[in-house]
Symmetry: C3
Subunit: 258 residues, 3 copies
């Protein structure tokens, strides 16, 4: 290793709940992830192995109790890190990166855990996220989406399943629907049923239900989610956490409608 590496440094204290929530948004898509610390905060971008869904999670330095970092990118096993936090018996976590041994030291109360870092080069590189200008935008509570996913699954009897997300103009509404071998389901949420609705036309795109269900799983029922949809385009789910200091964006590629 070159001496240049010794400039990498991370020393931070953060609420256990906050860093746990951060990791929870990665778990549905990846086992390993690259944590990029900069002086502004922590950012992770990742793509699932099938290249269908991307996630970017950001946590501002202001969300930490204490935060000092130079540009440092480390890769870790997400679920093992999450397990250590879940077992934590204190409300605060201290993180310190040992650049020489390439170990993330995780201190929670009397417990010190050394999480070995992975070679960042072995972690799947996330593609650039296209800056799509999608037609319609709805803001609604996460459980409206989860409910749609649940009923779509029933209508398709648990077979390899799809769900269509879109908007309609007459009357203006966000729509979710699914068609099984015998049953169908349609959810029509008009402006009064959601927090905000901007309809850009009669548009719809079809998505893998498994991905939608996985992405929604860690999101609390009453979390406000902003959904952008187009016609045959990817969809984007966006939400805030940690009193607005945290931000999560999912981009999900559409399935071809048959």
């Amino acid at each position: 290793m070159s001496t240049a590496e010794t400039t990498e440094s991370v020393s931070a204290i953060v609420a256990l709940d906050t860093i746990e929530e951060f990791l929870s948004y990665l778990s549905p898509l990846v086992d390993e992830a690259k944590l990029a610390f900069t002086e502004d905060g922590l950012r992770v971008a990742a793509v699932d192995p099938a290249n269908v869904a991307m996630v970017a999670v950001e946590l501002d330095a202001a969300a930490f109790e204490d935060y000092e970092a130079t540009d440092t990118t480390i890769a870790v096993n997400v679920s093992r890190f999450a397990d250590v936090l879940a077992a934590g018996r204190d409300s605060l976590v201290q993180l310190w990166f040992d650049a020489t041994r390439r170990v993330l030291e995780v201190q929670i109360g009397a417990t010190e855990y050394e999480l070995a870092c992975i070679d960042p080069g072995s972690v799947r590189q996330e593609p650039d996220i296209p800056d799509l200008d999608l037609d319609s935008t709805v803001i609604l509570e996460a459980d409206e989406l989860s409910h749609g996913a649940t009923v779509a699954d029933i209508a398709q009897s648990g077979d390899s399943t799809r769900v269509v997300l879109g908007t309609q103009t007459g009357p203006a509404a966000f729509v979710m629907n699914a068609t099984g071998d015998t049953d169908t389901m349609d959810i029509t949420l008009e402006a009064d049923d959601v927090i905000d609705l901007q309809v850009g036309g009669d548009v719809s795109s079809m998505f893998s239900l498994d991905y939608v269900t996985s992405i929604l799983k860690p999101i609390d029922d009453d979390t406000e989610v902003t959904v952008d949809v187009g016609d045959g385009y990817p969809t984007r789910f966006e939400l805030q956490f940690s009193e607005g200091f945290g931000n999560v964006t999912y981009n999900l590629a559409p399935r071809v409608q048959t």
Copy 2:
């Protein structure tokens, strides 16, 4: 299809809890069931594939918020219907039968679900229920029966199991008992232990424990159940729901005592 079918019609609004409870009493015995709507209300009678247990569930038109029906019999997949209700995000359900497409439209809040109907001819025909005059009758809370089933299972170590239900005259009591390879269990509920007790003699009949356990599963612990038993005869469990507008009757055939 003949034009006569166009006279079939169902249009009803009912509390989600009520129709969910209705279906819950069918689930232990059958996957598919025929729903018979008349102007008086809804009735289902069904028998399990092994012909051991019959169930009849009735819900009076007065239990509905709104009810209009001509004689209409449709067959549905019980668990799929129950799943749609379980996912419901509103307290009311609107049911409407599309006689042309033979689809039951289930509307719950913003969610419209089209439940395809099955050919009623493909659903097992329930036998006539013999009007047995059984010797003894006890009224007790459902969890007294569930407790008996649990302990009977322990005594028989989970092997193919039986439970005996009966009454004794000295002192007057409702009894449940089971005999395993090494252990035995006896429950003796006298008049003071139950809500009502009418003993017609020293009688007992043996039943499959699996059936008893299945039948009891959807019944709330504190529900009053009327149990009629005879000597080597079927037993009958009866209970009310929906403030008395709903009625459930199970008839369970005895096993031969060895």
Copy 3:
């Protein structure tokens, strides 16, 4: 059977919770156990099939609502006895030993259960417990130990796992640690972190994590556990229950450190 056996007698009434808790401390290690009743109370000593862990549970006669016994040793299936208690619908249990039929009659409310006794000769004989004088002693809440076991498991990724228990002198602390293929964990509990700490030196012993986890499972999180440890010696966990009338001691053999 000889007439001498007719002198065996047990007749007792005890709180269901108390006898349930008694059995819960045996369940992690053995399926069958010998219950030794004397006029002073009930005592069980048992060793697991691999001869790694011993348990002794004692319940003073004063913990019973009513207690009369001559020297009587019976062997029973622990989990079946526990299941009958778990299903109990009353706060008191009446125990009566039928010496002629070698059956333990368990009466809970209206339920009478006859638990067949096993031949005590068929139950593994417990070895004498060596009266070790271990170096260090810590008293702490059970969940401190459970937490250590959980994190040790994470560090070793669920492989065949070990945990080291010990004490250090500078600063004085009770320590738990584990080393996995890539990660490590260290818990250091100083005097302020525990209820009491007596450090006899820098000592440590390694144990099978599976045994530690099993032993801790029935113990309530806030139960005070006294842990005695030495250097390469067995460890001893001791706790009280039933307002001090019950006592539990586990002795766990060390694994050879590699």
